[in-house]
Amino acid sequence: MTTATTTHEVTYVDAISQALDEEMTRDERVFLMGEDIGTYGGAFKVTEGLLQKYGEWRVLDTPLSESGFVGAAIGAAMMGLRPVVEMQFADFISCAFDQITEVAAKNHYRWGAAVPLVIRAPFGGGVHGGPFHSECPEGWFFHSPGLKIVAPSTPYDAKGLLKAAIRDPNPVLYFEHKFLYRRIKAVLPQEDFVVPLGKADVKRRGRDLSVITYGAMVHLALEAAELLNKEGIDLEVVDLRTLIPLDKETLYESVRKTSKVILLHEDNKTGGIGAEIAALLAEECFDCLDGPILRIAPPDTPVPFSTPLEEFFLPKVSDIVSGARRLAAY
């Protein structure tokens, strides 16, 4: 456990690598599968050096077949191993959709077989990836009972949630944001830690308005909060961290305090997690709402490639600022 933690700052992507490395050392059942994760260290170099350290039977380069290797991971998980699978880009998870939703998600419910499997999926835009290298596929999966879903926004959460995911007895989709990989740094604790699944985190306390979000958008919300602070609008920023199971209590508590809500995500608006949270609030916190529930999310289009289009597509700090002003004045 001494290998990876340090006192200097580590990036979000390094936090993920550390979690993998430490879990592989801690538990020999943990192994990795994916395309080009061995010799090459993965398209984003997350698994660099792990083949050398753990050998080719714990860091497996697979043929180009997402459905096949997710299925294989399911089988290995049922036999007692702890596979962590890498999608080269989250976008390709569509190829493994059937294995994830029909096999991994339903096995325990149907016949009692636990599937302790983690699927890591580098997701999100802002990297000029175009429609097939920028997707946020989480919206497809929170509608599939039997899956857990996490999406960290900081190196601390990235490391702690990945460890928790690996130790969880269920299939967990771990969405890591490509835009954050080398942009966000933090000093991490020396000792082993986990961030429990199912716990949201209030990243900034505030009185006037709750922004509920996750992933890269957390940082936009925090930026907006600083700007709005100068105008006397005090944002609370709630980072979901885990999408399923949803930490309803933390959400409700925040909304009960502020009475006003912005739901912010990078996934397409229609049918995104914001829809679900709005519905929960409109049912369970109706009386404490002092204004409409605002959603800030991209339009219902694929992620366009060209810079001005992608900028238009992605939520911006200014969207949050103007939304918050509107709500504050309500």
Partner: protein, 333 residues
């Protein structure tokens, strides 16, 4: 399969054991069909009538700690793995005492403790899963084997391809089989693929393949045993094509008018139970009265199972909510 060879090769007790399971399968599935016709079983019912030799043969060739991802007509494998007729009938009747506690029906059952991976409707989905089980054995250096199959139709799915390819590249200890019963629902093999023998598909993966008479339990047993031994010895996967014929509709509601009558007649003569009986008699291992006696005993087992299943309680509504997620204590930490 030359019967003289057989006699030298398969122990008497194994042959008699397989005969038992052929009869038990037939008897149990006949009961299921009867209950379905009486409206007491609801939902889909797919049986292995006339194809019992396949599951009985291969499951008999495996060791207890090997793992099976069965095809949807492999009742014999469940029985050999210790699923009782009572449990199975409870499953079909949606009772709480069935292996899925009513969560799923018919052949969609499994139990890891008994090495049976639960069947998934989506055909071929469990083939990559079986590769993964074999991968676990290989990673842990266990001398265990996975055995998994699908139908002729199932081999057209992409997951078949991805599983076979992965297993071959990593030389995994898995045996894949195809139960070629000449139809996929109403679709004959010639409309499913432009090859005559499904085993041709193995070539694309550099995987050895074998055609086996699926109605001859001894042949199935021996071919399986060879492939299993190969896998266990670290020589990688094999693909077995079991030739047989679906002797009834796709499921109980299908009259199968699309199947030529002569084809069924031809295959009726090859019934695996009759074949097994002829073999046992030739070898001097059993006679008519033995067969009759087995018939009586399996019927009693199935009767007792029916009684058990019918008296078992249904689950209660709120049990719907249990089991979506596994809890930590279910798996070793």
């Amino acid at each position: 399969m030359d019967q003289a060879t057989v006699s030298n090769d398969i122990p008497r007790s194994d042959l008699l054991n397989m005969y038992w399971y052929l009869r038990l399968t037939r008897s149990l599935e006949d009961r299921i069909t009867a209950l379905y016709r009486q409206g007491r079983i609801v939902g889909g019912v797919y049986t292995s009538h006339g194809m019992e030799a396949i599951a009985v043969g291969y499951a008999s060739a495996l060791q207890p700690d090997d793992v099976i991802a069965p095809f949807h007509r492999d009742m014999g494998a469940f029985l050999i793995r210790g699923f009782t007729p009572g449990e199975i009938l409870a499953q079909y009747l949606g009772k709480r005492t069935g292996p899925t506690k009513g969560k799923d029906g018919n052949v969609h059952m499994g139990d890891l403790k008994r090495g049976m991976i639960g069947f998934v409707s989506h055909l071929a989905d469990n083939l990559p899963v079986a590769a993964g089980a074999a991968l676990a054995f290989k990673i842990r250096r266990e001398a265990r084997v996975a055995f998994a199959g699908t139908g002729d139709g199932g081999t057209s799915r992409g997951d078949f391809h991805e599983a076979m390819n992965f297993a071959a590249v990593r030389r995994l200890p898995v045996v894949y089989f195809c139960t070629n019963n000449q139809y996929a629902y109403s679709t004959p093999v010639r409309c499913q693929m432009a090859i005559t023998d499904v085993v041709e598909r193995a070539k694309a993966y550099g995987m050895p393949g074998d055609i086996v008479d699926g109605n001859d339990v001894a042949a199935v047993y021996q071919a399986s045993r060879r492939a299993i031994a190969n896998a266990r010895a670290g020589n990688g996967p094999t693909f077995l094509e079991f030739k047989t014929m679906r002797m009834h509709g796709h499921s109980e509601h299908d009259a199968a008018k699309y199947v030529p009558h002569e084809l069924l007649e031809e295959w009726k003569a090859k019934d695996p139970i009759l074949r097994a009986e002829r073999l046992l008699m030739t070898l001097g291992y059993a006679d008519e009265s033995y067969f009759h006696d087995v018939g009586e005993r399996v019927r009693k087992e199935v009767d007792a199972g029916t009684e058990f299943a019918e008296q078992s309680p249904l689950p209660e509504g709120p049990e719907t909510l249990t089991g979506v997620f596994a809890s930590v204590d279910e798996v070793s930490a």
